[in-house]
Symmetry: C2
Subunit: 450 residues, 2 copies
């Protein structure tokens, strides 16, 4: 296989070095590292076609690798084979500012894309936190803090160029803003985690940079009250840009880690964005609503520096936990109907208390999507079991309440066990689609399904 | 087959009457009428399962029928067999106002649904014009005048209950607002026109009724100027509720038909909706923008009566054309990137002039989606050919410009011929998915694909 890869692609695009194999053995999750046999660096769609044809012929697994920032092990080549790294496919192919649209290669990262379009007054608002690659964000249907306003990746994708397992290149959509033509392959490939095809081009919507942004923060007595307050904001019809819950324990970690003195209470963070008059009005209305609900510590920031300070506790939270010595983090990513969110958030907080693990509850409460983070010692079987139990209880309760085990991280390795419960007989259909499109099972095997 | 249907469902749910067969032979398109052998009126999902099991066993086509308001022949049972009428499955199953969400049976119409939820301050905004059934709207991924603000049906669907060809019942999503779990079957079934499964329940998002609505209208010298003006509004970031182009010829037809005296010029219609202060601001900004671009006849209306009058020329346009004696209508439904819209609109207007047919150009210019309507004598082969030629030229040009042959009507019968050009190799994948999910080809055969 190695000889054929080198013969087909040239030596400079194939690596078996220990350092590259190690780098491609992992992502940001706590799943065990597994090294690929080869790392291949395609430079264009033709290279990807060559790799897939060879891999399909020899039945060798192919696992796409973007920025390695995934949280469910999607980039880990658990059956070894080829890790397909998109670092060299990170160019802008076509930028059409008047159509609020851009076509890029999948290896470009979110911040690189924004750097490119920001000077034209446009931005790509989907923000999963990490500087993920656009291809990876499509593959996992990523979202994050701005989904309450802009939706998920799937809502941004207009067209994808995709190489199928047999090397056929297709386009899944068009450059029209809406379409009723044929089956919706855009939506099918988005979120398919590299199991149905390899993405080689991405056309997404762009949005105008809001003229003004106002940030605000307030606190409540319980995480449940925060969730209920978020529900009131949604019902008001005000289109917040971001609305995030961070619980008291998480704020405490941030204070310890960064030497801050934020009020260690359950907090709701807001951003309003748009035309100046309109955002002023929005911030004022939300302030009134929150105060009617009995919030404390309402604070508001206008300048970009003030906003950054105000949101610091949210931004630094994950890092604060990760600096606890001797522990690694695991987390949940469930999403439920808004009316069930308060119940879920309280349940998550209680589970963490019961487990005795250090952990936090936070999330994108405008979508009903929230996370728990639990810190455990990977060498202590009791802690491992407690962390896993917490995640499982949350995922199963979310599914029972009509929600999903994963709002934005994807299934990858860790959420496979919930798929039967969540999808029932639809799971068999999904598996048969996988077999149809990848009969030899070379495309990111072991992800989504066992 | 008749005996088995009656034995399984009871006599009251199966009809072979001439009147029912005639009613189910057609939709609102000009495609030839074809009568089904039977009309079946299921009352619940179990009935649909029984019908599909029998049909699959006997290899009898099943064509779902909602309100019969489709525009591409999707409800016409071109291979005869069973027309599955959803009149009796029109109930609300679960209404969750606090989640801005409702689950309904597919036979409920858009206006029935709105009547149900309006008293709670909520509405279902997707408006294709006709009082279509929700199931039909999902099946065709319908949209209409409000898509510029709310997107298409696919953007509203959270979950579907679907009966597959073999009688298996699946759910395609969940009640969570976003999900990265499994393949996106919601998006796949939405827009699949009854070719992959039969929809038996629909869970959709609802939205708060805007506190205030302002309507406005202005005119420009050319349809191209209207399209360019629409692009300027989009670029401003103002979220209009509706933004519609109606060309001078269409206004002339409305004036003749309704005895009005609207200015017979190329017109742009607007609606702004939201909190009072915000919509006032929006209407004022757009007025300034339009006047800078040299519009004429700017008029604005606040009360609901005034708004209805102002928009009359838009609302009555299709009917005005349809009252031309001895002619029937056909039309195009292409959607292109916004920057190509002016070119397309001018092209459409020129084609109509060249054809000598009476016709109009209008559409949802905020989405890049526009329609031509051409009136022809179905008994005059020359006129038939001219009408068809016009449609074809528009569809092919839209595809060449990176757009689609159908923005909202669906493929049905009339757009099948463009599918290879538009989708290329992806069409083979779509066909293989159809074969996977419906191996005997009983589900609405002859739609989307030949």
């Amino acid at each position: 296989m190695k000889e054929e890869l080198i013969e087909s692609l040239g030596k400079a695009k194939v690596s078996q070095s220990e350092s590259e194999r190690y780098r491609h053995s992992r992502d940001e999750s706590s799943h065990p590292f597994i090294e690929p046999d080869f790392v291949v660096f395609p430079e264009n769609v033709e290279d990807v076609v060559k790799v897939l044809r060879l891999a399909n012929e020899h039945v060798v697994p192919v696992t796409p690798y973007g920025a390695g920032s995934g949280l469910e092990g999607q980039a880990i080549p658990i059956n070894k084979g080829i890790s397909l790294n998109f670092d060299r496919m990170n160019k802008v192919i076509e930028f059409s500012p008047e159509d609020l649209m851009i076509t890029v290669e999948p290896g470009i990262t979110r911040l690189q894309l924004n750097e490119y379009v920001n000077k034209h007054g446009l931005y790509f608002p989907i923000d999963p936190g990490a500087d993920a690659s656009i291809g990876g964000m499509v593959a996992t249907n990523a979202s994050g803090t701005t989904a309450v306003r802009y939706g998920s990746m799937r809502d941004q994708v207009l067209d994808l160029e995709v190489v199928l397992a047999n090397g056929t290149v297709i386009h899944t959509g068009s450059k029209a803003k809406k379409s009723s033509s044929g089956y919706h392959l855009n939506g099918l490939i988005t979120g398919s985690e590299g199991t149905l095809g390899v993405i080689t081009k991405v056309t997404v919507k762009l949005h105008g940079i809001p003229e003004k942004v106002i940030a605000a923060r307030c606190t409540f007595q319980t995480p449940g009250e925060c969730a209920e307050a978020a529900q009131v904001v949604l019902a008001s019809g005000i289109q917040v840009l971001r609305m995030e819950l961070v619980d008291a324990e998480s704020i405490k970690q941030v204070n310890e880690y960064g030497n801050y003195s934020f009020p260690e209470e359950h907090s709701l963070f807001f951003e309003f964005a748009g035309a100046p008059n309109i955002v002023e009005e929005e911030a004022t209305v939300v302030e009134e609503l929150m105060k009617e609900l009995g919030c404390n510590n309402w604070e508001r920031a206008n300048s970009s520096k003030e906003r950054a300070d105000l949101w610091k506790a949210r931004h630094e939270m994950a890092y604060a936990f990760k600096h606890i010595k001797g522990k690694v983090s695991t987390g949940s990513d469930s999403c439920v109907p808004i009316s069930k969110l308060a119940e879920m958030v309280v349940f998550g907080r209680e589970l963490l208390e019961q487990s005795g693990l250090i952990g936090g509850v936070f999330g994108h409460v405008g979508d009903g999507n929230f996370h728990t983070i639990a810190m455990y010692d990977p060498n202590d079987p009791v802690e491992v079991e407690k962390a896993e139990y917490t995640n499982e209880q949350i995922a199963m309760k979310a599914i029972n309440l009509g929600g999903t085990c994963t709002g934005e991280h994807g299934v990858g390795l860790g959420k496979r066990k919930y798929q039967v419960t969540e999808h029932g007989d639809a799971l068999e259909l999904m598996k048969s689609m996988k077999t149809l499109m990848d009969p030899k099972g070379i495309l990111n095997p072991g992800k989504i399904f066992y």
